[in-house]
Symmetry: C3
Subunit: 143 residues, 3 copies
């Protein structure tokens, strides 16, 4: 059993955003999987996906602070400057966090830890709409 679909995530401000509910809502067929996996690819090079703490907004704010300090915009090291000061750092941040997530499905639900949620990591100031290719596969539940 294979499901593959493109999801369009509405534009979000720069930062780390919880999107678990939005992603699951767009994949109603997941409930029909007894055991399987869900793979997500964000089709961009200046935004990324992560799995982290789903409760405290201050955790997501501290993510933004740390990544901004670790990959600074104003730096003599960047030679790729054509697309603005937030562009090249966004490529590095996107590579550090990665463009994909693969998540287990058990009995029709994502088998995440209690505190885990899916982050859309928006590294551009104005990233616009972001496209995800979602692919799920596995063994269907018996009727």
């Amino acid at each position: 059993m294979w499901i593959q679909r493109q999801l369009e995530l509405a534009p979000r401000p720069r930062g780390f955003h919880l999107v678990t509910r939005e992603v699951v809502a767009a994949l109603p067929e997941l409930v029909g999987l007894r055991v399987g996996l869900l793979h997500l690819l964000i089709q961009h090079t200046s935004a990324s996906l992560a799995l982290n703490e789903n409760a405290s907004p201050d955790v997501r704010r501290d993510f933004e602070t740390w990544f901004d300090a670790a990959v600074p915009e104003r730096s003599a090291m960047w030679t790729h400057r054509l697309e603005g000061p937030d562009d090249m750092p966004s490529h590095i941040k996107a590579a550090l966090l990665g463009p994909t997530l693969t998540l287990p499905v058990a009995h029709g639900r994502l088998a995440l830890g209690t505190w885990q949620g899916i982050y859309l990591c928006e590294h551009r100031n104005r990233g616009g709409e972001r496209t995800i290719v979602a692919t799920a596969w596995g063994e269907p539940a018996a009727d």
Copy 2:
């Protein structure tokens, strides 16, 4: 052919720990896969999984040193402080290394490089037991 199982890893001190043998021992059905994959998700946001050098303990010690320097505990940048000084840095480290590994299986064995081993990366001082959801799938070997 699908296998899905929860593994409980015993508490380990903060640092990077080789767990390849423990993980493989908990999945005896892998030997029955001619070709397939093994997916591991650690269901926590302050520990992570990595694949790296399996021989020298000093490599794993240097990992700890670098990550502690790159994501310092004592820093004015953290606003999420309720759970102790090792908590927020552990979320960042966990996101940098990632909570999942997907590994190929060939002829009943993990098809890793000679020097590759699975690391449990424990970022908390007292992380306690850690839960992994292991999912394997593929084509069974002919009898």
Copy 3:
């Protein structure tokens, strides 16, 4: 439908290299997949795989600059020094970027974003030939 094959990538200088075409050319069976996934594992601990900007060579050069600054060779923090000053930093860089990529396949092609390409990230000065295990699986296209 399962495909599994070892790919040998020719030695490349230290840095970030686009290898999308080389990888796809080595997997002609991908065109026969209606829907599926391609998994790549680089079987080394001092090189990694990433998915990032496929157009501007200056982006790849800036990757090298940032990673060299973030994980410096000359540092008192390294205790693992036997294999040369570029060795231990290469393990850290490899773990940050990761040894695997899982990519969706749709209608016989990798379903990447317009600007996404596969990077071979060579962290050693002389890394030599690099081995990738490629595994693809999915539903075949109807004839």
